[in-house]
Every structure is written in structure tokens, then in C-alpha cells.
Symmetry: C2
């Protein structure tokens, strides 16, 4: 741009085609299912040519994996952001499940992208399936740590319960009544947190 700043500039377009591709893929894969979306449609909607597609991704499955990993990264970032605003573990825990409620009630919610992806990639050896499991492991670990930090009497037990109720909320929000799911979710979280008799009484604080 000018002398003194020879660096590669603040990436005016870091790799626009790649980003467009991933964004388009995320929207289509999530809304319609992965196997239901072909490469043709992807590159057309992303305004990208075939050659460009295969220059950035080794193939469709690699793009699918990138899609799942991007969802994972987004949730991790969302959590990190919340973690910088909230100090108490119990509050962070509630913020975490609050985010789930918002997701479920948000427009265009179509189920958990990880559960849906796993439904289409049953083989555990698949990178896609592995990415799903990796996200779930991360989520469970975060719950475990927060529960322990909050002084819960039985973090493993509580984490198991919270993971199950999260999955139930995701499925129910897609194939059932969203409002009911959200209220049930909140109630269960209060119960689980309240049952670890320490400094984590229910209530938004």
C-alpha cells in the first residue's frame, strides 16, 4: 500500500473464493443435507469455477470436513468470547446452555449440524465423522471442567446428563415443539446444577 508497510497488507481478500465456497457449503449442507448437494450447485452459488474449487479442496469430502470443523470452530470461539465476559463457572455454564436455547429457537434451525452430519457419515473412520466426535468430546470436556470448577459434587454425572439433554433439545427443537424444549431444557439444567450441593444454587444470579 505504501512504503514502510511491505507486508502482505491486511489481507484485502485473504482467499475470497475459498471463503465463499465454505460459506455456501455451510448454508446448503445444513439446510438440505450433505449428500443432497452436488458440486455443481456449490460452485454455481458460490460464483466459483470448478478448477478453483479443486484448487482449495482436495474433493467434496474435504469440503464437508471443513464445514463440520468450521461449525466446531464457531462454537468454540463463541464459548471463548463468553468465557472472557463471565467469571463464575456456574454462570458460564448457564450461558452455554442459553446459547443452545437461542440456537434452537433461531430462524432456520434444522437440527444439530453435527448430529445431522453423523447421520450421513456413519463410518467412524471418515474424517467427517471424526470431526463430529471431536466436537462432542470438546463440549463434554468443557462441561466437565466448568462443573468441577463450580464445585459440583459429581461433575462426570452432571456432564453426562447435560450432554444428553442438549442432544434431546437439539432433536426436539427440530422434530418437536421448540418452546416446550427450551423450557424443559432450562428446568433440567437447574435441576442438574442444583443437585450438586455447593455454591451453585439455581437462579440467573
Amino acid at each position: 500500500m505504501s512504503p514502510g508497510f511491505p507486508d502482505t497488507a491486511p489481507t484485502p481478500s485473504p482467499s475470497a473464493p475459498r471463503d465463499r465456497l465454505l460459506a455456501t457449503a455451510s448454508a446448503l449442507f445444513y439446510a438440505e443435507g450433505i449428500h443432497a448437494v452436488g458440486v455443481e450447485r456449490l460452485i454455481t452459488q458460490a460464483s466459483v469455477t470448478r478448477a478453483t474449487f479443486y484448487r482449495h479442496f482436495g474433493g467434496k469430502e474435504e469440503l464437508v470436513t471443513a464445514y463440520v470443523e468450521a461449525q466446531d470452530a464457531a462454537l468454540r470461539a463463541q464459548y471463548e468470547e463468553a468465557a472472557q465476559l463471565i467469571d463464575e463457572p456456574a454462570g458460564l455454564l448457564r450461558a452455554l446452555v442459553g446459547g443452545i436455547s437461542e440456537t434452537v429457537c433461531g430462524p432456520g434451525f434444522r437440527g444439530c449440524p453435527f448430529i445431522n452430519a453423523a447421520a450421513e457419515y456413519p463410518d467412524p473412520a471418515t474424517p467427517v465423522h471424526r470431526a463430529v466426535l471431536a466436537h462432542r468430546t470438546w463440549f463434554r470436556t468443557v462441561l466437565l471442567e466448568l462443573l468441577a470448577a463450580a464445585g459440583h459434587s459429581d461433575p462426570p454425572w452432571a456432564a453426562r446428563r447435560l450432554v444428553m439433554i442438549r442432544d434431546g433439545a437439539m432433536v426436539g427443537g427440530y422434530l418437536g415443539e421448540r418452546d416446550e424444549v427450551v423450557t424443559s431444557l432450562a428446568t433440567v439444567v437447574d435441576e442438574v446444577l442444583g443437585s450438586g450441593r455447593t455454591d451453585m444454587e439455581a437462579g440467573p444470579g
Copy 2:
């Protein structure tokens, strides 16, 4: 049709090809996903010709619908069978969730066929999606009736909780630790049933 026993006999082969087709489809669709299985493979493994396939089903989607409806019918039949052996609603309720535990722990469990099918058929107008919702409505209704018959103080609330925990168990049994899921499931059922303070104290009776 004619004197004596002109009837179509006790169906020596009611429609063997059709049954083979549906059985093969059920196994493949469940194990590998629906869009991942083509007609070619279907008819080859079922030892049926293309013409025969299209004589029995209008197309692939009709077979998929039949697959989902067959799963639904099997579960309804399983429930009816249990209902004839068990009188008390509370016991029947426990048998119902006991069946879920067995399913989750059974060999080859690959998640809930209804949840998985819905992941591949997001459009609510699709017969497949509708069949999934129909099954879920039936399940919820059964829970509701059993809870009411058992004298639970808040059947709608309890039914919601049980549906959510069922979904959580199905997902967790596929993408998590099966043993943990089953024990958590049993605990939650006890809690939910026990909270309706009437004649439904926990315990297998």
C-alpha cells in the same frame, strides 16, 4: 371367487420380492444412510430385477417412506405386545424405556432411524419426513396416555421430559458412551416417574 377354497391361499409367498426389497432397504438405509444407497445395490442385494422393483414401488422415495413406516410399525407392534403382558401403566412405561436401552446397546446400533432419516429429508412436505413426525407423535401420545393412566400429576410435563431424554439417549448411544447413556436414562426415568407423587414410586416392582 369360486366354490370351496378359491381364496388366494394362505399366501405361500405374499409377495416375496417386495418383502426382500423392503428388508434389504431397511438394512442398507439404516447402516449406511439413505442417499448413500442406490437402486442398483438395492435390487442386487435383494435378488430382484429393476422391473420388479418399480412394479412394487413407484420409485426410490416410496421405498424410503415404506422403510420408515416399517420401522414405525415394528415399534408399535412391539409396544402392543408388551401391553398385553403388562397391566400397570407404570410398568409398561418402564418396559418402553427398557426397550430403548436394549436397542441402544444392541449390536449394530447406528442411531435412531427416524432422527437419521429426518436429517436427510429436511423438507416437512416430504412423505418421509411426515412419516418420521407421525412416529414421534405416536410415541409422545403413548407416553401421555400411560402417564395419565398411571396417575402422574403432570403428564404433559413428564412426557416432554421423557421424549427429550429418549432422543438424548439415541444420539448419545450412537455418538457417545452407550453404557453411560443407559444408566443415565434409567435414572432420569425414575426421577420423572417418581416426581408425579402418586402410585408410581420407582423400582422395577
